[in-house]
């Protein structure tokens, strides 16, 4: 078979196995199993409570790994807590040296780690060798730099504390690096929970931490399954949870951590569009598909799993794609000439198969290469393989177009116009990534801006770099990994560490029927009027038909405010949704409106101050101070409106990567009772300055300041629908907003219980929640009441990769 003349006849590739001996020896040396890594030492393996680890390509059992329980998590969190004070207090340079050492040691063991990852996960040695492990090293190098620069680049910030981190099985070591490197750079210590299918490279990394001299307890590893993860996520001792995995589990963790005052970042599922315009380099796009959906067996959260192809080129595209699929090679992932290795486990094969069958049942047309029947069926013993699979004639409503398959399965659809491409692309609950193929700058950039996704690759796909933020829109999660924005996930404003808890809120007075004599606006203190709500640029009566008395500091009724309910929120969100022109405006345009608004507030400063005094009992001085601060704050965000627009990164030669700060579009804002005018302005101004439209519930006890404010909005050219004001019970309205799927972000500044409720209910569409987490904030303070924290939370970062060259 391997005589030269025979080979000359067929010109086949032949086998090209990577030598796995050293890794196999290492695994054999751990024949008694692996424990956890806590406080700088490996715990004794507990064979009675262990799970087996298999090589998915062969079905061989390759290791036994101890399953972590609540006690193990306790011990790990305790070790991380002990290590935190010393580690976070190290100089940036010292921490940088540790991260640099980790990078160097990862490089030193690069081949070992690549082979181990391949054996554990089933992904090809080509990918682990050329992609996973080099990116791991790159991530530690990059973050060695952030460790060095933390204090200079993030003044006024402190490490969030002990971090719980839960990583998935599809890129085990790379996801570890994405989690661990920024945490350590920020000065945090970590407890990492590895994935049950793929715990081995994390264990090898623990050994590397020892070898590289990382202080004990800075990195702790607990192996285990969902229960272990749950114990970690819910642990009181962690200040931050970072998770990468499925949207379903992300939702569970969002609910579980609600109200626990934990920072949370979620990197979840996707059904990312791969858009091919008629002016694309089709051959390039075909190869892009290979890198999009046949990378890592399609087990990639940002896989371009939904190809949208312009109708005029669809036939040619599909012909070329099928020809390309014929040349893909599925098989032993340790073979250096394999494109698609093994799927991680039999259970995943079953899941893929079920989704493929559902797609066929829904009427889509399946196509596989001619050699597909020769791919082993996917039983454990035969190895978990699945052939590359193409679906055409996929309807947008089909599960193939809507649900993540997490396998080598591409769904394709056609579109007629660029506009329709964007509609189809955004017709998804997810928003992780998008790949756009066009040789025309106008077409490509237009699509890149309009697609709702955290990462956009123009004429490329699945590119990653430590300097470029990665993370999703919509139900693909929130938070970014990589770059400056990724560092902020592990830092908090230093003042929050000493902030006092909020005092319990007093309920609003019992509602009464809406008064008939509700003359709006008016001069002076309209003691006998009911202030209206403000929706879509118009004053609106509450749907409930009830209002509630607004009391002064002495408990006297000074006016009545509309008692908003869920329908008012619904109407307000609809109005905000329609006001898209605001988001499309230039920052300069928004700045002009904000300056005008500040100007008009100052013109009526005395009137606002009087009203504040009447409501809150504040002294004239103090009220005047609040109004002046509010005007200054509007100017502050007017100043930022055309400046906080993002950054340019150059992760590769001939590549511009843009980190664009994009608006959330529709936001919900729940205001506190303290500083009723200033807090309202402090929250609304950055949100609208950055281009969002907001549904805001002003202070329930002192709503008048905000309600008077709508007159300013009217007179300052703020378009209708940009700021929508609904008065009423904060938490009742916040509940509706948190559950509203068309709100992308919710800022909640009320009670501890309210924050917990909002965080819990936000799990529905996984909107990003920024809350006071039960901590008091001094709205007059320049650090607490305004600044980078507000701006950062007012945007979501879209990373656009733009390769160029001729």
């Amino acid at each position: 078979m391997n005589d030269i003349p025979s080979i000359l006849r067929t010109m086949e590739y032949g086998p090209a196995p990577e030598d796995a001996r050293i890794v196999k020896d290492w695994l054999a040396s751990h024949g008694k199993g692996f424990g956890h890594f806590i406080g700088g030492a490996f715990t004794r393996p507990a064979p009675k409570d262990a799970f087996d680890v298999f090589n998915p390509a062969t079905g061989d059992r390759i290791a036994s790994v101890t399953r972590g329980n609540a006690k193990d998590v306790d011990a790990a969190v305790a070790a991380a807590t002990r290590a935190f004070s010393k580690w976070s207090a190290l100089s940036g340079n010292r921490r940088a040296r540790h991260l640099y050492a980790l990078a160097r040691h990862v490089q030193k063991h690069a081949r070992f780690l690549a082979v181990l990852e391949t054996i554990d996960n089933g992904k090809t040695i080509r990918e682990t060798r050329d992609i996973d492990i080099p990116l791991v090293a790159r991530h530690f190098y990059h973050h060695a730099g952030w460790a060095e620069l933390r204090d200079e680049e993030f003044p006024g910030h402190a490490p969030v504390g002990v971090c719980g981190q839960i990583i998935p099985w599809n890129f085990p070591l790379l996801m570890l690096a994405w989690k661990v490197a920024p945490a350590l750079a920020a000065g945090c210590t970590v407890v990492l929970k590895s994935a049950e299918h793929t715990p081995l490279t994390a264990l090898a990394f623990a050994g590397i931490c020892r070898e590289a001299g990382l202080p004990d307890g800075v990195f702790n590893l607990v192996n285990g399954d969902g229960e272990t993860g749950s114990a970690l996520a819910g642990h009181d001792g962690i200040a931050k949870l970072a998770f990468t995995g499925s949207t379903a589990v992300g939702r569970i963790l969002r609910r579980q951590t609600a109200g626990q005052a934990k920072k949370l970042s979620l990197e979840l599922g996707g059904k990312s569009p791969f858009i091919v315009f008629e002016n694309a380099d089709i051959d390039a796009a075909i190869e892009g598909v290979v890198d999009a959906i046949w990378f890592n067996q399609g087990e990639v959260c940002c896989a371009g799993s939904r190809a949208l192809v312009q109708e005029g080129i669809a036939a040619r595209f599909h012909d070329k794609l099928k020809a390309r699929m014929e040349t893909l090679r599925v098989g032993d992932p340790l073979d250096k000439a394999i494109d698609i290795g093994a799927v991680v486990a039999p259970v995943q094969i079953e899941s893929i198969r079920a989704k493929v069958e559902a797609g066929i049942a829904e009427g889509a047309t399946m196509w596989q290469p001619s050699w597909a029947p020769s791919v082993p069926s996917g039983s454990q013993a035969a190895g978990c393989f699945f052939p590359p699979t193409l679906f055409t004639h996929v309807a947008p409503a089909s599960s193939l177009a809507q649900e993540e398959i997490f396998g080598p399965v591409l769904a394709t659809m056609t579109f007629r116009t660029p506009g329709e491409a964007i509609e189809l692309a955004n017709n998804s609950r997810y928003g992780l990534a998008a790949s756009i193929w066009s040789q025309d700058l106008d077409t490509a950039f237009d699509a890149a801006r309009r697609v709702k996704a955290g990462v956009v690759w123009i004429n490329s796909t699945n590119l990653f770099d430590a300097a470029a933020g990665f993370g999703g829109y919509k139900e693909s999660g929130f938070g970014r990994e990589g770059g400056r924005e990724g560092m902020l996930e592990y830092l908090v404003p230093a003042w929050t560490k000493k902030a006092k808890p909020v005092t319990a809120a007093r309920p609003i007075a019992a509602p009464v029927p809406v008064s008939g004599r509700d003359a709006p606006g008016g001069e002076g203190l309209g003691l006998d009027r009911t202030v209206k709500m403000y929706i879509g640029g118009k004053q609106a009566r509450p749907d409930s038909g009830y209002s509630y008395p607004v009391l002064d500091a002495k408990g006297r009724t000074i006016t009545e405010a509309g008692l908003g309910n869920r329908k008012d929120i619904r109407n307000a969100v609809e109005a905000a949704r329609k006001a898209g022109a605001w988001t499309a405006m230039t920052g300069h345009g928004r700045a002009q409106v904000l300056y005008f608004l500040a100007e008009n507030l100052e013109l009526r400063a005395a009137e606002f101050a009087t009203r504040l005094s009447a409501m809150t009992g504040a002294s004239a001085d103090s009220a005047g101070h609040e109004v002046a601060a509010a005007a200054a704050r509007i100017m502050y965000y007017a100043a930022w409106a055309d400046k906080y627009d993002g950054a340019v990164r150059a992760p590769q030669p001939r590549m511009l990567s843009l980190a664009l700060n994009e608006a959330w579009e529709v936001m919900g804002i729940s205001c506190p009772d303290d500083s009723p005018l200033l807090a309202f302005v402090s929250l609304v101004a950055p949100a609208i300055a950055m281009g969002s439209r907001v549904v805001v519930t002003p202070s329930p006890r002192h709503p008048l300041a905000a309600c008077d404010f709508y007159q300013l909005l009217d007179t300052s050219d703020v378009p209708g629908g940009v700021v929508n004001i609904v008065t009423g019970d904060r938490d009742e309205l916040a509940d509706t907003m948190a559950k509203h799927d068309d709100i992308a972000a919710h800022w909640y500044f009320g009670t501890t219980e309210g924050a917990a409720m909002v965080e819990r209910e936000s799990a529905g569409n996984l909107k990003a929640v920024w809350s006071n987490q039960g901590k008091q904030r001094d709205w007059l303070d320049g650090h607490q009441g305004q600044g980078a924290e507000f701006l950062f939370n007012a945007v979501r970062v879209k990373t656009i990769w733009t390769p160029f060259g001729i």
């Binding site: 005589d3 006849r9 590739y13 032949g14 380099d281 250096k336 000439a337």
Partner: protein
């Protein structure tokens, strides 16, 4: 290529039939070209970054080891246009080159590979027109094609009449293949009708000899130019398209080759006609030859892993291949002086 049997008539050295290992396809029609059809290429632009990415990962996605590597290197030998194109070429130098083309691999190595009697030889020798008679004489009866550059090689800026006369001269002297150069200005200015017409006339001048059109891609600069020039050359009836003269500042590169073979694939799709590909210039290492073979197999299929559709223009490549093959046979790293020079 011209059937080997024509030349075997007067042979004093029996060439073993090679049909079982390199099946010929007599039923495959020669590319006679088409009308100039700008619609087939005018809207095509090539994305450089994507082409580079594909080119860079070709040899990381595929590899051949051990016996497969040795066999692939043997196939590379069969695809070499062993070339000398220097001002100091002499009949003696050409004779020596031809001898190397006939016996490219040491006999003991060929035997160790099980290829005794296989009649392994390079695809062709490639010389200047005035050296064609020497090459023809040296290769008489061997079945090895003689290729001649022509048309004012390498710049191609002599008058068209001169360039055509040069082709006719080389053909008359017995050249089987003519490596012509295109007029780069016609590409750089997008004058496709002019390019097409000149190439048509060159193809006519070639007659039965096969025309290999050198695009001099290092001077066309953009991959889009390379794609369009490739298409026009094929429409004009090129039997092969070839990257470089070896004299440009940038010679054969994988991204350029990728674009050219994709043009060949598109042309096949449009016409059903097979056109060959020849990278030339700067290919010196055995592993480069493997990379190009991988490119051909991946983008065009196994049909393009044979000398009738694939050639490598090279002078020093063979030496490295011999050393690698000796390493395969003996397990020892070899040195250049253990193999006969060209």
């Amino acid at each position: 290529m011209k059937a080997a049997t024509e030349k075997q008539a007067g042979s004093d050295r029996q060439i073993a039939p090679r049909h079982d290992l390199v099946p010929v396809r007599p039923d495959r029609p020669r590319n006679d070209g088409t009308d100039l059809r700008p619609a087939w290429f005018e809207n095509t632009t090539v994305n450089l970054s994507a082409a580079e990415r594909r080119a860079a990962t070709l040899a990381t996605r595929r590899t051949v080891k051990k016996a497969w590597q040795a066999a692939w290197l043997v196939r590379a030998i069969e695809c070499i246009d062993l070339t000398t194109l220097a001002g100091d070429d002499t009949p003696g130098r050409v004779e020596r080159l031809c001898a190397k083309a006939r016996w490219p691999l040491r006999a003991d190595l060929a035997e160790a590979l099980g290829l005794s009697g296989y009649g392994l030889h390079t695809g062709a020798v490639c010389v200047y027109p005035s050296m064609v008679p020497d090459a023809v004489r040296a290769l008489e009866g061997t079945g090895i094609s003689v290729a001649s550059v022509a048309t004012g090689f390498p710049a191609g800026l002599t008058p068209l009449s001169t360039r055509l006369a040069e082709i006719r001269y080389a053909v008359e002297q017995g050249a089987d293949e003519i490596d012509i150069v295109i007029h780069r200005a016609q590409v750089l200015t997008g004058d496709w009708p002019a390019l097409y017409d000149e190439l048509r006339r060159m193809r006519e001048a070639c007659g039965q000899a096969h025309m290999k059109a050198i695009l001099a891609t290092g001077e066309l600069k953009t991959l889009t130019n390379v794609y369009r020039a490739s298409m026009v050359a094929m429409m004009a009836g090129a039997d092969f398209i070839k990257t470089s003269t070896g004299m440009e500042a940038v010679n054969a590169t994988l991204p350029v080759s990728l674009v050219m073979v994709r043009a060949i694939r598109d042309y096949l799709g449009f016409t059903g006609l097979h056109v060959g590909f020849k990278p030339a210039g700067g290919i010196r290492a055995a592993k480069d030859a493997i990379a190009w073979l991988i490119l051909m197999k991946e983008e065009l299929g196994a049909d393009w892993l044979r000398p009738d559709l694939f050639r490598i223009g090279a002078s020093s490549l063979l030496g490295d291949i011999e050393r690698q093959i000796e390493h395969y046979v003996t397990g020892r790293y070899s040195s250049a002086d253990r193999h006969g020079m060209a």
